[in-house]
Amino acid sequence: MDLQTITYLMVGASFALYIGIAIWARAGSTSEFYAAGGNIHPVTNGMATAADWMSAASFISMAGLIANMGYGGGLFLMGWTGGYVLLAMLLAPYLRKFGKFTVPQFIGDRFYSQGASTVAVICLLTASITYIIGQMTGVGVAFSRFLGVSSDTGIYMGMGIVFAYAVFGGMKGITYTQVAQYIVLILAYTVPAIFISLQLTGNAIPQLGLGSDISGTDMALLTKLDQVVTDLGFGQYTTTTAGSKLNMFVYTMSLMIGTAGLPHVIMRFFTVAKVSDARSSAGWALVFIALLYTTAPAVGAMAKLNLHGTVNSAVGLETAADGSMKVNPETVKARADVYATEASLVYEKRPDWMKRWEKTGLLKFEDKNGDGRIQYYNDKTKNADAKAKADAAGWKGNELTVNADIIVLANPEIALLPNWVIALVAAGGLAAALSTAAGLLMAISSAVSHDLVKGVFNPGISEKNELLAGKISMAVAIVIAGYLGLNPPGFAAGTVALAFGIAASSLFPAIMMGIFSKKMNKEGAMAGMLAGLFITLFYVFAHKGIFFIKGTDFVNLIGGPNAFFGITPEAFGAIGALVNFIVAFAVDKVTKEPPEHIQHMVEAVRIPRGAKAVDGAH
């Protein structure tokens, strides 16, 4: 069977499974629609949370980012997992005890103010909608690259599938499809990783393979990789930081706080039966996330070595007669000259996978020195030795441009894995994008139907009508998400930073103070949220333009790029959170205490006893 057919079968089978779950798990009450009935097992919820959390970016892009950044890429690994410790200890169990359907409802009730709840709804909608654009484009990308249909068709199909289980099943349908999607995506991610680790190190566990010696040698894989990339003028893989040390510190912190404050993740913990379940469920979620997150650095480093080995024979990887990659221990140990003429791959002899990916534009070759060979190196190097060698060899600049996404998408092809593995990766990428999109849609529609329709406009709405409102807002949200996926605003690439910045600077501090500071009043909380949000948006917009409109950036007004201690706008959320806390406590000091019953409410939230199923009463 050819690749195309197998891919259709694999993706078709996964979609049939999701539809089957949709038919089985329809939501008949608001409790099922918003909280999946409220008695999801902690391990099940952990698995659903992992799929909810791991997006198209985690699946497709992260390993490539790490491959490019080296050690500095660890900020994504630590940032996007460390947030679960904060979520597990500071937010999830207490919000579960509070026992309401949505995050804005907690903020509104705790700070006894419709205004606070509305600010929270706005933050939630902005963060979730910007985040969902990336998922929809991810669906389009996966379809167009693997199934040969246009990206638009892919997005329509993705919308149709999500519609089937999210509109009719609500949180209940989403929970069980997310479990299925987790299984698909984790298999798709780990199977190629196991193969590539075996080929390079003989160790089947990628996490151990990354710390092992290259097959047949006593040279550690990371040592060899460091050697190859520094010889070619790149920064050393295991030590290159992402900007300054301070920037890396703040960036990691921002991702952690942002992760803990993302509403679509938090609300998954409203589906478990008990406070103690919310605690353990966060641990299970991280176990399932870690399976992918500890594999990603192995995939990144190994695929990077493989890529260099493909285009430069001095690395010591050879293409066997059947086309598969094989280690040549002698060359690996010898540290052969990567600048030797014969070492660079002749373009006409490039492997098939390169030809295939050239068609997509993700891989580009330009023969700058006209020698018919591919020279892939850092032509902007500050390493004088590497530069002199490149000049002496007659290299006229880097000739190969590689999009970071290829690291995961083409990995099975580079390692010459069977077609079913390539097809599995397609299904996995779609599962990652769809599961996160559904979680975000759930956060959006519940904020609209529960916090706005019921909370603000029509408090007397019957349960039946609220359920209907939920389903309608879900359907509308899908259409909007699809529209934004089809016509991505020019700023789409910068928006994930915005989502994390908003979650970190507004939602996380407000929720945390709501639990941990009994005396925090509505004036303090609202001033804090607005100040944190404002300063973060100000810094991001200064770099990227007001609402990301080109030409409206004002970075010179704040003293040039990264003016605040060299911190990049993506890393700024933690600073926004700090501002939020400081302003909140300052305003709280000069305004009057929250009413007695609110303080009692906080005391009740802090103890597990008396936890009941989540409900929608305002």
Binding site: T81, T252, M253, S280, G283
Partner: protein, 84 residues
């Protein structure tokens, strides 16, 4: 009951403080602030600081959450505020 509630909360905060200290040391500390010193030590083929940033911190996070769940369960029962 009032005092019992206060004692439970301060025990909770103490536990959180301890766990957050470990959380900080093994991510921001060994993975970022002191990574050079850590890289002087090898763990198999891994420089140790690099390993913390790309692997170790994540394993420690998992252990911390499960430890937290267990320790909080013990506190809940000790102060008689556990769920039925």
């Amino acid at each position: 009951m009032e005092d019992q509630g206060k004692a439970y909360w301060s025990a909770t905060l103490g536990l959180l403080g301890k766990i957050l200290a470990v959380w900080f040391v093994f991510s921001f500390g060994t993975g970022i602030l002191f990574v050079e010193a850590m890289n002087g030590i090898s763990l198999g083929g891994y420089p140790l600081g690099f390993w913390f940033a790309h692997q170790g911190a994540i394993y420690i996070f998992i252990a911390l959450i499960f430890y937290y769940g267990k320790a909080m369960g013990d506190l809940d029962r000790k102060f008689d505020v556990h769920e039925d």
